[in-house]
Symmetry: C2
Subunit: 218 residues, 2 copies
């Protein structure tokens, strides 16, 4: 994996800065101190058609190394973690737990939290927004309660720090908002993740790449 390239944006609106999904891939790469190149795109401009062959949903990050290409941050984390004990234990049982939690962050937690965060952001002025969001809160609170119970007093989800924690901390930070405040151990867990030096380096690297111009000269 000597030459790794990921895609990222050189411009996004202010609210998205520090939240764009290449952050989790940069974080994993920083944890293993693996250098990488960045293929920069502008979120406000039409991307070249050939980019869709690399990232079919026209998003970031996409990933490439000598062995092949990937899209989807979860798939990229899993690939980076192969044979990297620092990101994923090699013993089968804890490895299975960590893999389960990686998918849980992406399919059991993020989809429940994301609309609660994004709907007010894009439709907060609409009358229907508030009751629609309110209808989603009970399931989100229940899900977070179960996550909180599963984490308990543990430092990380699967015995050691793994890619599952990278993804779960990202999801809680970007989509958890005030919903997390009821759960002291989730707050502390998120803070523990964000306090890792590799996270800070990844965040800085994402910001450093915002060198582009807004679309239409806005």
């Amino acid at each position: 994996m000597a030459t790794i390239t990921i895609s990222a944006f050189n411009w996004v609106p202010d609210f998205a800065r520090g939240q764009v999904r290449d952050l989790v891939v940069r974080w994993a790469l920083e944890e293993i101190q693996q250098p990488y190149q960045v293929h920069l795109l502008n979120a406000g401009a039409v991307r070249p058609t050939e980019y869709l062959a690399w990232q079919p949903f026209d998003q970031v990050p996409a990933y490439r190394d000598e062995t092949g290409e990937l899209f989807e941050s979860g798939a990229i984390l899993l690939h980076l973690a192969q044979d990297r004990e620092l990101l994923l234990p090699s013993d089968p049982a804890p490895r299975m737990q960590a893999t389960s939690w990686l998918f849980a962050a992406l399919n059991s937690i993020e989809p429940i939290l994301r609309p609660i965060t994004l709907m007010p952001l894009f439709n907060g002025d609409k009358e229907w927004c508030s009751p629609a969001v309110a209808s989603m809160l009970p399931m989100a609170e229940k899900r977070l309660e179960l996550l909180s119970n599963a984490l308990g007093e543990k430092e990380w989800l699967a015995g050691q720090f793994t890619i599952a924690d990278i993804m779960m901390v990202y999801v809680l930070r970007s989509f958890g908002g005030e919903l997390i405040n009821d759960f002291g151990n989730l707050l502390a867990y998120r803070a523990r993740g964000i306090a890792r030096p590799a996270f800070s380096r990844a965040l800085q690297a994402q910001y450093d790449d915002f060198t582009g111009e807004p679309p239409h000269g806005d």
Copy 2:
């Protein structure tokens, strides 16, 4: 993997029958003709507390074999596909594509479609429901268009039938509804998946396990 146990429900409401998520795991197991045992639970009753140690979100399926335990259908599919060329190619490049598509089904397609299907089911009588759902349609249609373009004339997403197709066909079947109708190749793709004998056997097996009583004798 001689002894495999998955969890499933012995009773769910009518609208959920044939949709419960153990379907994708049963489908993968049927594709490789791997026998399994089922640990049955009742969706309408409180599950024993110890079940949460196996499935932290109190859902199905959970999975167990000699090497360890898993939850999250995506993690279970990936585990079953290790060293099974029938479910996931061993060559790195196509394997990376299939893994990307597995995550795409779970994190780029399902979360966009799920609220559009479920919100009317649970809140269809509320005034806010219709405009809230309408606000989510443009992104869903765009995402499906990109999926349709990526699939193109291909039979399966990653060169051969893989676990990515199991998950994507499940997602399109359970959450795609009428949104798929605009995309002929997605309709044909979903039909191709559902037409596989292993899918039919998995569906029948889920129905055959609905042997329980509804809660409170309803």
